[in-house]
């Protein structure tokens, strides 16, 4: 699988070293191939946001905040609330990130987070419509990468979903044709699913879950799979150059499904939804 000369020399050495390890089921940081780094998830850390969460996944630190406002629906979805996802790879987080407007990596991250939330039907968007075609809830999700040691997809989805799941939004009511905010009551967002994503790196036909940034620089390619629940995927994004062999696809799906269940369990614990019926 390895193509000579494709990577600059030091990367080639790292690639070979990682490959040698992985065929023995090992990784540089001592993890097994399918093992996530330690995960910490804290919610409600930004009092001025409707919802917020910070996730530490190994050395990757991500914060997500949710704000809501009244707005007009998009013309093609007059009876649905709007979701707007913005992600920024802060220059604080890595010497590889530059200040400035979101680049293609940040835009891809935002759009993958958006897809996991939107396509999983996580939110009951039709319940957040106040006057169809005219007034709906606009849900802003802002994701910032604060410290970056590989795999920003999975903790960004976790932080966004946790922020949404714990958000307390104003209660809006229609009075005499106007939408007014009830200042006394805050309410939860109507939630159906708890999507999570699993990022898988490939070294030839070998799988390694949750790559660090060192691993990312040396692997052949990578694929992110978003799961709505135990049985359905909602989003996929192959996201580096390189090949995925047709022959490993089934294994990728199988592993990602298994890990998604594990991540969702941790998510539910962190947001206090353990055992809660959905």
């Amino acid at each position: 699988m390895y193509r000579i000369g494709e990577k600059p020399y030091p990367t080639k050495i790292m690639h070979d070293k990682l490959y040698e390890l992985i065929i023995r089921g090992e990784r540089l940081d001592g993890r097994g191939p399918y093992q996530y780094r330690p995960l910490e998830l804290k919610t409600s850390i930004i009092e001025k946001a409707d919802g917020s969460a910070m996730v530490n996944l190994g050395g990757t630190k991500i914060i997500a905040g949710v704000k809501t406002a009244l707005g007009q629906p998009y013309p093609d979805t007059p009876d649905q609330a709007n979701i707007v996802v913005n992600a920024e790879l802060l220059p604080l987080a890595s010497s590889f990130f530059e200040p400035g407007p979101p680049d293609e990596k940040a835009i891809e991250l935002a759009r993958v987070v958006d897809r996991c939330i939107r396509e999983s039907k996580m939110l009951e968007l039709d319940k957040l419509v106040y006057i169809p075609g005219r007034s709906v809830l606009v849900i802003y999700i802002d994701v910032y990468v604060l410290d970056y040691d590989g795999n920003y997809f999975d903790p960004s989805v976790l932080a966004s979903v946790a922020a949404l799941a714990t958000a307390k939004i104003p209660l809006y009511e229609v009075k005499n044709g106007d939408v007014v905010m009830n200042p006394d009551i805050r309410t939860s967002l109507p939630i159906r699913k708890f999507p999570v994503s699993v990022t898988i790196g490939l070294l030839g036909d070998k799988i390694l879950v949750d790559p660090t940034s060192l691993e990312e620089s040396a692997i052949d390619t990578s694929i992110v799979i978003g799961w709505s629940d135990e049985d359905e995927m909602a989003a996929i994004q192959k996201n580096l150059q390189g090949f995925v062999q047709m022959s490993v696809m089934e294994e990728i799906i199988r592993v990602s499904r298994e890990k998604s269940i594990e991540l969702r369990t941790k998510l539910m614990e962190a947001i206090g939804r353990v055992g809660a019926p959905l």
């Binding site: 396509e119 989003a235 192959k238 996201n239």
Partner: protein, 246 residues
């Protein structure tokens, strides 16, 4: 006050509303060498989707600090004409166009032998003049052909097509209506001779087994496009052979 009647996208005898079978793609037209100024170019039509692709390079990378000592850099711009869609797309690159430029570039980086041209750049421009579903995969198919037309060494041609899930059924090459109303849309691109996936995205819900069915259906469609690419190229370079194939 009228009740919403759900449009039936698939008839009882397994036909789609445009008359196609579930595993049938739209009419395709692929041509190479359609633009004179570029080093390589191609044109593709899939149904009403119409796309030009052009390649410039290898040429000196600039600004200089972007040049890579061991290989060429590949730039890719997927862009839609303002009139290519319903309504009018505002000029300038949308976030969607920026994301698609990235995934298409990454797909093409997999097949181009970049190490042959250290310190240089290869530019790929994809211009969608009409968008009617499947533009990223059709654009990639045209771009891959334009690279070959430019004589740039590649491991293989690659071609792409979307598969969808519509009213519970897996369909090949979804139309715009199927894409919008269906449950899932999954663009796939492969380098067929290498048995490798170079682009893969999913928007929408699928189970594991549906996914595998969809992936295999995509593979079938890609095989057809691959033959059309080789024919289009054959008209220009009758001797073209992907590297390593004898």
């Amino acid at each position: 006050m009228l009740e919403k009647v759900e449009h039936r996208l698939i008839t009882e005898d397994g036909r789609r509303i445009d008359g196609r079978a579930l595993d049938e793609m739209r009419p395709v037209r692929i041509e190479a060498g359609v633009l004179d100024r570029s080093d390589g170019s191609a044109y593709i039509e899939m149904g009403k989707t119409k796309i030009y692709a052009a390649v410039y390079g290898p040429k000196e990378a600039h600004p200089r600090h972007l040049a890579q000592p061991h290989k060429a850099i590949l730039n890719c711009r997927y862009h839609m004409a303002a009139f290519s869609v319903e309504g009018r797309k505002a000029p300038g690159m949308t976030r969607r166009e920026i994301e698609l430029s990235k995934v298409i570039r990454e797909a093409l980086e997999s097949i181009v032998i970049l190490e042959e041209f250290p310190r240089s750049a290869i530019d790929i421009f994809i211009e969608v003049i009409q968008a009617d579903a499947g533009t990223r995969t059709a654009g990639l198919t045209a771009a891959s052909l334009a690279l070959a037309d430019a004589g740039i060494p590649i491991l293989d041609l690659c071609a792409g097509i979307a598969v969808g899930k519509v009213e519970g059924r897996i369909v090949l090459d979804p139309s715009e209506e199927e894409d919008k109303k269906g449950e899932a849309d999954m663009p796939v691109a492969m380098a067929p001779r290498l048995g490798s996936i170079v682009l893969l995205q999913l928007n929408g819900r699928m189970t594991s087994s549906e996914f595998m069915e969809a992936l295999n259906l995509a593979k079938k469609g890609i095989g057809v496009l691959y033959e059309l690419q080789r024919k289009a190229l054959g008209k220009k370079f009758t001797t073209f052979t992907p590297i390593g194939e004898e």
